[in-house]
């Protein structure tokens, strides 16, 4: 685990320098367990912003389904998904990136939405209007949003 993280950090730095570009939703490379090694934005994540995204209804809205003790200041945590208090111990960055980009690649048939996916939907709507989408969809979260959320999740560890 620790080893993976260190290797990954190294890869990230290299990747950041080498590409400094954003991976498009269609180009995300999942490994056979659903993990994604490469940063989606090419930049490091900002945990402070990641925390904000998790509690913001119009962004990640993660607390609608997950309880997170550290975010207990935000009202109404859901119980649809597991508590995320130890996500940073349980999962590597690459695994978390995969879960966020498309959780169905890690958990088959998951009800967790794919946050970095733009096609293959049935009756896609225009946001929450109930009307048909009138153009290509944006992913639910941007590449950098996802890197930010990962950075925050990595801080969720047993003391």
């Amino acid at each position: 685990m620790r080893l993976t993280t260190i290797t990954l950090a190294a890869t990230l730095t290299v990747a950041g320098v080498a590409t400094a570009g954003t991976v498009a939703p269609g180009d995300v490379a999942f490994d056979e367990y659903g993990a994604v090694e490469m940063s989606l934005s090419g930049a490091a994540g900002d945990a402070v912003n990641g925390e904000k995204i998790m509690v913001t209804k119009s962004k990640g809205n993660c607390v609608a389904c997950h309880a997170v003790s550290k975010l207990s200041y935000a009202p109404f945590h859901g119980e649809v998904g597991p508590q995320l208090d130890w996500a940073g111990d349980t999962w590597s960055q690459a695994e978390l990136r995969g879960i966020l980009a498309n959780a169905k690649k890690t958990f088959e048939g998951s009800v967790m939405p794919a946050f970095y996916k733009v096609d293959g939907f049935v009756r896609p709507g225009k946001g929450y209007t109930g009307k048909a989408a009138d153009g290509p969809l944006d992913p639910l979260l941007s590449a950098q949003d996802i890197e930010d959320v990962i950075a925050f999740l990595m801080t969720l560890k047993e003391e």
Binding site: P82, T90, E95, F107, V122, L140
Partner: protein
Amino acid sequence: MKIKALTAIAAVLLSAPAFVAADEDAELIVNGEIEMVTKTAAAPHLEGALDEVLSGWLFRADETQSLQADDFDNPGMIFVDQGMDDWGTVDGSEGKSCASCHGDVEDSMAGIRAEYPKWNDTAGEVRTMAQMINECRVDRMGAEAHGYTSAKMARMEALISVQSRGMPVNVAIDGPAADMWAQGKEMFYSRTGQLELSCASCHEENYGNRIRSDHLSQGHINGFPVYRLKNAKLTTPHGRFKGCVRDTRAQTYSPGSDDFVALELYVASRGNGLSVEGVSVRN
């Protein structure tokens, strides 16, 4: 890594199923006399999906629950009174009211709500109660159709539902209704919208769990029309479906469309055995 993922899944499975409400054994007796079945064995067609069917009433907070136990407290009952006024009011070119043909609503409409949506031989298709009301208005009274989810439609449905309170939902799924029922079933399990959620994602896999501030029920319509405290008015089944589909970031279906009629037929049949509760109270 693989092992970790499996453990995580196991943990989820373990924590998911058992439904724990604050008062799972709460009983609903309306006006001290109508005993409601809010929990019963699931119909055979739900084998493998649900063992027990639970009324949405069980999932509501104590205060909301108690509003439904007495018609004087139930804010939805005022619409039943309005529906009663409409029942006797002449409307349209034929100079008729509902009462002209159907007489006393308490006799003629008892048991109707429990069986709808229902195959209609004359029309050669499955009809909802709302469609029957509009058929009578347009074809038999020469009056204008009510908007499918309008306040006037909702209160007429409320009046008719109340005549079946306490009777078990008993929607037929076989015979000529079978095709439409199958279509509705497929819809119930289809994941729609950018969130890729089906009715089952929330109302079968996650009932009993909280999603944000809401306590997820099994999504039955035995309580419809429902009075919602949130907007202080009645909501019809298709109005509710529309909101739930919209919340998956999908393009919804239109109220009264064949799609929603099929979905209503299927959803209604999942509640077979529960009591008709309409007008119920929800948040």
